[in-house]
Point group: C5
Chain length 307, copies 5
Amino acid sequence: MQLTPKVKEILSWYESDNPGTKANLARILMEGKLGGTGRVVILPVDQGFEHGPARSFAPNPAAYDPRYLFELALEAGLNAYAAPLGMIEAGAATYAGAIPTILKVNSSNSLSTTKDQGVTGSVSDALRLGCSAIGFTIYPSSEYQFEMIEELREMAEEAKAAGLAVVVWSYPRGPMLDKTGETALDICAYAAHMAALIGAHIIKVKPPTSAISLEAAKSTYQKYPVEVNDPVARFRHVVQACFGGRRLVVFSGGEAKGMDDILAEVRSIHAAGGNGSIMGRNAFQRPKADALKLLNGIIDIYKAPVD
Amino acid sequence: MQLTPKVKEILSWYESDNPGTKANLARILMEGKLGGTGRVVILPVDQGFEHGPARSFAPNPAAYDPRYLFELALEAGLNAYAAPLGMIEAGAATYAGAIPTILKVNSSNSLSTTKDQGVTGSVSDALRLGCSAIGFTIYPSSEYQFEMIEELREMAEEAKAAGLAVVVWSYPRGPMLDKTGETALDICAYAAHMAALIGAHIIKVKPPTSAISLEAAKSTYQKYPVEVNDPVARFRHVVQACFGGRRLVVFSGGEAKGMDDILAEVRSIHAAGGNGSIMGRNAFQRPKADALKLLNGIIDIYKAPVD
Amino acid sequence: MQLTPKVKEILSWYESDNPGTKANLARILMEGKLGGTGRVVILPVDQGFEHGPARSFAPNPAAYDPRYLFELALEAGLNAYAAPLGMIEAGAATYAGAIPTILKVNSSNSLSTTKDQGVTGSVSDALRLGCSAIGFTIYPSSEYQFEMIEELREMAEEAKAAGLAVVVWSYPRGPMLDKTGETALDICAYAAHMAALIGAHIIKVKPPTSAISLEAAKSTYQKYPVEVNDPVARFRHVVQACFGGRRLVVFSGGEAKGMDDILAEVRSIHAAGGNGSIMGRNAFQRPKADALKLLNGIIDIYKAPVD
Amino acid sequence: MQLTPKVKEILSWYESDNPGTKANLARILMEGKLGGTGRVVILPVDQGFEHGPARSFAPNPAAYDPRYLFELALEAGLNAYAAPLGMIEAGAATYAGAIPTILKVNSSNSLSTTKDQGVTGSVSDALRLGCSAIGFTIYPSSEYQFEMIEELREMAEEAKAAGLAVVVWSYPRGPMLDKTGETALDICAYAAHMAALIGAHIIKVKPPTSAISLEAAKSTYQKYPVEVNDPVARFRHVVQACFGGRRLVVFSGGEAKGMDDILAEVRSIHAAGGNGSIMGRNAFQRPKADALKLLNGIIDIYKAPVD
Amino acid sequence: MQLTPKVKEILSWYESDNPGTKANLARILMEGKLGGTGRVVILPVDQGFEHGPARSFAPNPAAYDPRYLFELALEAGLNAYAAPLGMIEAGAATYAGAIPTILKVNSSNSLSTTKDQGVTGSVSDALRLGCSAIGFTIYPSSEYQFEMIEELREMAEEAKAAGLAVVVWSYPRGPMLDKTGETALDICAYAAHMAALIGAHIIKVKPPTSAISLEAAKSTYQKYPVEVNDPVARFRHVVQACFGGRRLVVFSGGEAKGMDDILAEVRSIHAAGGNGSIMGRNAFQRPKADALKLLNGIIDIYKAPVD
């Protein structure tokens, strides 16, 4: 497989990584309908942990079967499929080599009263299951943030040494942040930057809103303003926070919503130079035909060259 | 020993496991009167830890002697016997090869004021004692849930690498759950799904009631209703939460109760496609003849083909 | 040394242990005046940790010198001598091979405000010092109970693999137990049973009183009554809780008291089938001649066959 | 490269270190425009962690790109560049051998409500990235100070064994210190001395103010006065606290401020025998030309011999 | 070097230690002006950690330089010099083989609000620096006492295996003890006994006062009285608590005080059979000539045979 110039350029950003990790990044970047474009769409399915099985799969019961999710990602021509240990184990042999997988190695759940997570998979698991990357969520601002960061650090070091890529979900929450703060523009950029500093290869954050949350940051944003009411400008600010655009950054779709809203958001990410979307509930909770239609729509937007 | 098509099918669900683990799952599935049917009845005896010796064994003092429990499981033709370290050590040589054993590697007790558990056995112990599996209890929702989940993760990885199976008791309890919540249908399905996601081979939960407990889940169950007043529908919902029925799930018998109640429950589990029962106090607290009669009744139900 | 049938029978209870551990159990059981009877008297000296040096040794200052304690155990013809690291180190070479020693590997002290313990010795220490066993105290019901249980588990696994025996002091205390509860019959039997489940070879508990403490256990004891006012029945209940008498269980002498009271208690233990006594302050705080007289009296009772 | 007598003298202070560590110290001391003088200017860029990306880089957006920072340090002729993992990874191959790097291995952030830090890099990372040293921040007086000190101890031991140097940022903060206390003269000297005792090769503290904060220290400073109103005397006191000037000590520039203020401070450090400056925001937040002008001014002061 | 009979006798107390550890104890006991007498004077310099640099060294600024302290110990003919990592590193090569060193491996500081300590050195550090022993402080009665005891246990095991000696500073403090309690006679004897039980070779405690602090100990001291108003009797009681005088016990000098007071105290230690003094601030805060005069005076007292 000949890598495209765009993918070669992206790999050059990761100049300190070993060839194994670069190869796994290339596998993700070259896979599917967006293969070679430098854009990616990833299917993540850890909502069973986060929200429980019925809230995740009752709208489309076919998705209770882990094989459905592998097939959805494959059929839609996505770049990768991310899920916790049990769900990857349930299809890793059948779909070996068919689509890059990301082992989500920690998770929280709706029964928890703390803003912490449990580690539920390992780098060894990722290797024995043929995964291309591990995925890890941190909650910047949580009273457990340093424990999570240190767990991530250890696993990331082990993953990189083993030639895997590291995907970091950076979701701020904790005593300093109200609901608005969790997705405020400054916080979202800060969360993305922290993931980059910790050494993530692919950074996943939520779409930023127009709010500025951190008191100490307000004067900066007044002095050096971002067009907070323009979603493209907001996404561009987050991209900039990822080493001036030299780290892959993707945005989650969030709660299930209408196709038009999703595509509008994707257009903004695309225009801002974001690297793609990670689309869970909006994909697997729709009937398959609808999901494929939506994902195709998204892919078509990302395929277009930027003006 | 020729595996039955049913057992071969079940083993195919565990496609990522090594042959050692598959062999141990097969040993459990092919043992006893239900051997080959895909259904199992397991004798668990960790009540001495949970409730103390007199509350556990005074009703049938023969059971104070650990050999009695091995023999009860063997004589009844069960699939496996599960107990903590000391009880397995006390009979593992005498009954070596006679019946598959599951080393219960953590336990709580009635003298604890926290919803935590202590690890009391290891994978090395399971191997030296010839066990087929380790058993581990998690308390989803407890303030210690992530510690327990992470202990389980480590031990499960080690067990799988050593060719053992992993049985998870998933018993929700903690600050978010009142007594009703602990066995509510949504919580029970959630607990079963989490065990599947963590990578359990065999999942053990309590029979679900008709309650829906988690506020955030109520709208889902209204939109996608489960026939909560039909026990078969409830069990079926839990089976579905276990990867659409592609993980073995068994149900505990709970407090000692009348034979008719037990058999009625077993009939529902059978009809719902559940994989069996784990029957402790209802078995070993009865005089042996009564216990054998009850267990035979249960086995007869599970033996019958589903209509 | 030819083992007696009684000792052979006892070793048969420990069927899962390796020959090294069986040999060390045999060394303890075959030593001294009770050698071969299946009964044991052990001298424990960790009171310096628990109560401080003056409260322990001022009544008989010769005992400040660790050699005195080795000699007392040896001269009295006891089965073993148990003490913390420093005290064993201070005589292990001089008395090498003279009497089995038990390295007490954790201890609390009277200056602590928590119901926790510190680990002060290791299995490696026990091996280099030629000990036959490690001794470990757990406090069932303490808020630190699971930490202690898990420390014990790890050390017991290591000790068994190295051919050592494991002696567990099981002393309930914690927020659920008042002073009466700590030695109540149900609690004492529960504590002994837990030690057996954790895999102890020799269990040490305090003599049980007639109280029943745990609310949830009261109906059991009403339905299946124990003659709580008969000390023999009480000791027999504890023996039964130790796998129906298939684990060695010994009782502590507790606070210094009169010789008649001690001998009466020993007669009850003997009649109940208990395996012996662990006699600290009552032995080393008396002048040596008195101590030898008392210990001889105890040994004479244990030597007698049961009617 | 012939080491200067000054650098040889400095290396002699580190008489217990292995040749690998001495070589790395020499690399830092011999690099750039101050090479060989025994003075150093270091560019640290961990403000993205501490304050977020916009507050750090919006004033000079070129600095969002990690390559800019390597080039700034190189072009200005500094001695070393210090940054967290992700930023070093982003340029370590391109600038391999061009300028000594210090891997900042722990960091806090503005979203934290505790005075703790997370470890985000390792000695192995430093080695694979070709760094000359690790950098670690401790917060003396924080309720987490002993955890941080123990993490530092472990990493410093590993770093020294691997031939790396150890740079310690010693920034007092915690319940005993108000804002004034954090930079009080006695506290600053205490913080520097602690870093020396822990075994730091290069100590970084903030410029001390004239305040004396610790109640217990006031009588000492009355009896043995320091000219607290003379900045040179204050810096000299800190230098003395670093083993009488036998450890390298550098001072941070603190918040962005005017060029004149900075140069005045540098003149005092120089006169006091301090070993140099670590200059972050004052360097990278200025346009490059201004930054180079400032850094040249600083370097010129340090180059001058002391009267 | 021919060991004296006294030193041979002392080494015989440590009968379980390996030749390496005995050799290091012998090095300390045979060094300096008291070499061979069984008495020792040790210079400890960890006050920079405990009280900060100015409170420690401003009275005699020559002591800011770590080389001064090595020379003071050497010139005074002391038995050993004890200090934290950085201070030993700063002179270990220059003074290699000149005087036995004790690496103080944990320390607290005046900026801490908890009665805990940080580990700041390791057994590996002690070995690479040519030290004869490690030194460790425990705070019996602190809420962190078990953590400290367990850290000590681990390091002591490692040190003994590596042929090093173990010196324990046992300084009671915590919620049960007021200022008087910390140096009360019963508490001091208890602290010394605990250090002996944990396996210390050399025990360091503060001089005991006439107070009896622990409520539970008062009746013992009434029944078996110690002449609490006679300092010799008090020191003798502490010596007795150290295995009847079969462990080396030394006493700290405490706060700087007059020469006459110090010598009077030393005479009492000498008469009581204590093994010597550990003299920090009283030594290094005096001008060197005065310090040598004081230390010579102390040594002269210890040199005299006991009547």
